[in-house]
């Protein structure tokens, strides 16, 4: 074994893992519905590749090589586990077309079907996004746990339980029929959005794990659009993720300080991504069904256009928030809407439009609520109240740069 062949083999294996992990898991698990067994077999196949490829050279079709080995491993594992005649049936299903399917250069892409299984309404809503990240992208439980702010052991247990449920309950691997597609697609998009939101809350990209999650959610939303190009909300989500990603670099200055949208330098934005987002949104709008992701992307688009043209468009922004509020009833939307109202009608009107803590006690611990509240109070000249609200916002923020930003705002208040 030479080290050159070794590193070439490693490089090829890593590239295949990055490109095709989910495709291989989906193909292996589609008929048995046993995601855990598919993952185990695949990880053994990758280990075998790292032993074999440096010696014999990388195969011309590494995906097919891995798939063949993984299927043999899966059959071996099943043989070890099942002793009864029912094992015969399972093994037959797995071995079926073992050589024919692999001989074809194209492995059918069933990743979308796999995502629909992971985001099935029968799966606990909180674990759907982590599950997709694991089985479609191959992220490990520790990494997912740290992104979702939970312990690795707890996340691991929940992932195992969800995979057991898919297998035991007979959750199908398939893209739902036309009539139920919109509601089922919702749970898939929601999961991708959850992954995106986790990544987005680390604007500096200093936390490697969470920065990766934005890239992963971009990859996943692109995947959904490729396979369902006529679904307006899928297009909307991709546009939204692209818009957010396009401005990532501008959200921090060279000192690492947080820069709010109004003060960002548009020259630092990724205009190629913005143009792509705008084109997607335009295409979505011709498909005749509006939804929350299109509205959120449209808001991003409005913010970009205001900065590009220098023309205030707050009436349009408030209108979009009104529509978004109507479909989501989310307090987060209400907060952003109030901030936009401040630009249009002043801070007093905005404070009146803020959601009430009495109606939603979760706001007590919601940093953006307190940051927005403080900002509006400061604009209204209620300096003491603003100072208190900043205190709470600072106390709730875990991003150091944002905390520093809030501290600066607070100390700028007139005494």
């Amino acid at each position: 074994m030479n080290s050159e062949g070794d590193s070439e083999a490693r490089g090829t294996a890593e590239a295949v893992a990055r490109r095709s992990y989910g495709k291989l898991v989906a193909f292996l698990a589609a008929r048995t519905r046993d995601v855990a067994a598919a993952e185990d077999a695949l990880s053994e196949a990758f280990a075998a590749a790292l032993a074999d490829w440096p010696r014999n050279g990388c195969p011309s079709n590494p995906e097919a090589w891995l798939l063949t080995v993984a299927r043999r491993k899966a059959i071996d594992m099943h043989r070890g586990r099942l002793r009864h005649e029912t094992a015969g049936e399972q093994l037959r299903v797995m071995a079926e077309g073992l050589d024919t399917a692999v001989a074809e250069s194209e492995i059918p892409d069933q990743r979308l079907a796999l995502m629909f299984a992971c985001a099935h309404p029968a799966i606990d809503a909180g674990i759907r996004a982590p599950l997709i990240l694991q089985v479609v992208l191959g992220l490990d439980a520790a990494m997912i746990a740290s992104a979702f702010l939970t312990s690795s052991a707890a996340m691991g247990k929940r992932l195992v339980r969800a995979k057991d449920k898919i297998r035991q309950a007979g959750v199908p691997f398939r893209v739902p029929e036309r009539e139920e597609l919109p509601s089922r697609l919702d749970t898939v998009l929601e999961s991708i959005y959850a992954a995106f939101a986790q990544g987005w809350s680390d604007p500096g990209g200093t936390d490697v794990v969470r920065r990766d999650l934005t890239e992963e959610s971009l990859f996943l939303s692109r995947l959904v659009v490729e396979m369902l190009p006529q679904e307006p909300e899928a297009l909307g989500l991709l546009a939204l993720v692209l818009h957010a990603e396009a401005r990532r670099g501008a959200r921090r200055n060279t000192d690492g300080d947080y820069v709010p949208l109004a003060e960002q330098d548009p020259a630092l934005w990724n205009w190629q991504m913005i143009e792509e987002a705008e084109a997607l949104l335009l295409r979505a709008s011709t498909l005749g069904s509006i939804g929350r992701y299109q509205l959120e992307a449209a808001l991003q688009s409005a913010h970009v256009s205001r900065r590009r043209t220098g023309r205030a468009n707050w009436a349009e922004v408030v209108q979009l928030y009104d529509a978004l509020w109507a479909v989501s009833l989310s307090p987060v939307v209400a907060i952003n809407r109030a901030v936009a109202i401040a630009e249009l009608h002043g801070p007093k009107a905005a404070l009146a439009a803020m959601p009430e803590i009495a109606a939603d006690p979760r706001l007590l611990e919601y940093q953006p609520y307190w940051a927005a509240h403080a900002e509006l109070l400061a604009k209204a000249g209620a300096n003491d109240e603003a100072r208190q609200a900043y205190d709470i916002a600072i106390g709730l923020e875990r991003d150091v740069a944002v905390r520093r930003f809030l501290e600066q705002r607070q100390s700028a208040l007139p005494r």
């Binding site: 070890g80 586990r81 099942l82 002793r83 009864h84 029912t86 099935h120 029968a122 035991q168 309950a169 007979g170 959750v171 199908p172 398939r174 739902p176």
Partner: protein, 129 residues
């Protein structure tokens, strides 16, 4: 796959219905079961006598304890079940959603193990060595 659809309903609600309402509901159940039979998915189906007829039995310290009433005191009670054979969970959920019970109670959908402990190899169900 085989699934059991368990109908949980509020027993106390039934006597409060008028005779016509009761006839209406039982007609709806009959139609539902006819549809399952026609589709060839219904394997078995039973209604249960009310929980007032239920007795629970335990053996503790070699003594048999017999108690009046159901094991769990809940708002809704198991009133009956259907066993169906369909392709996957989505198909089972579709049938559960058509049940008249889903309109006023809850239908619990649960996979059924193929065969029984008499016909299956029990080693298939224990931890690997």
């Amino acid at each position: 796959m085989k699934y059991i659809l368990m109908d949980y309903v509020q027993e106390a609600g039934w006597p409060q219905l008028t005779r016509d309402e009761q006839i209406h509901w039982l007609g709806a159940y009959k139609a539902y079961m006819e549809a399952m039979t026609k589709a060839g998915v219904l394997k078995d189906s039973r209604g249960l006598e009310p929980t007032s007829a239920t007795t629970t039995v335990r053996v503790r310290n070699e003594k048999t304890q017999v108690l009046d009433g159901p094991f769990a005191d809940s708002k809704e009670q198991l009133g009956g079940f259907h066993i169906i054979e369909v392709a996957d969970l989505d198909a089972a959920i579709t049938w559960a959603a058509r049940s008249p019970t889903a309109l006023h109670g809850v239908v619990e959908v649960r996979p059924v193990i193929e065969g029984t402990w008499l016909t299956r190899n029990i080693l298939d169900f224990v931890k690997p060595e």
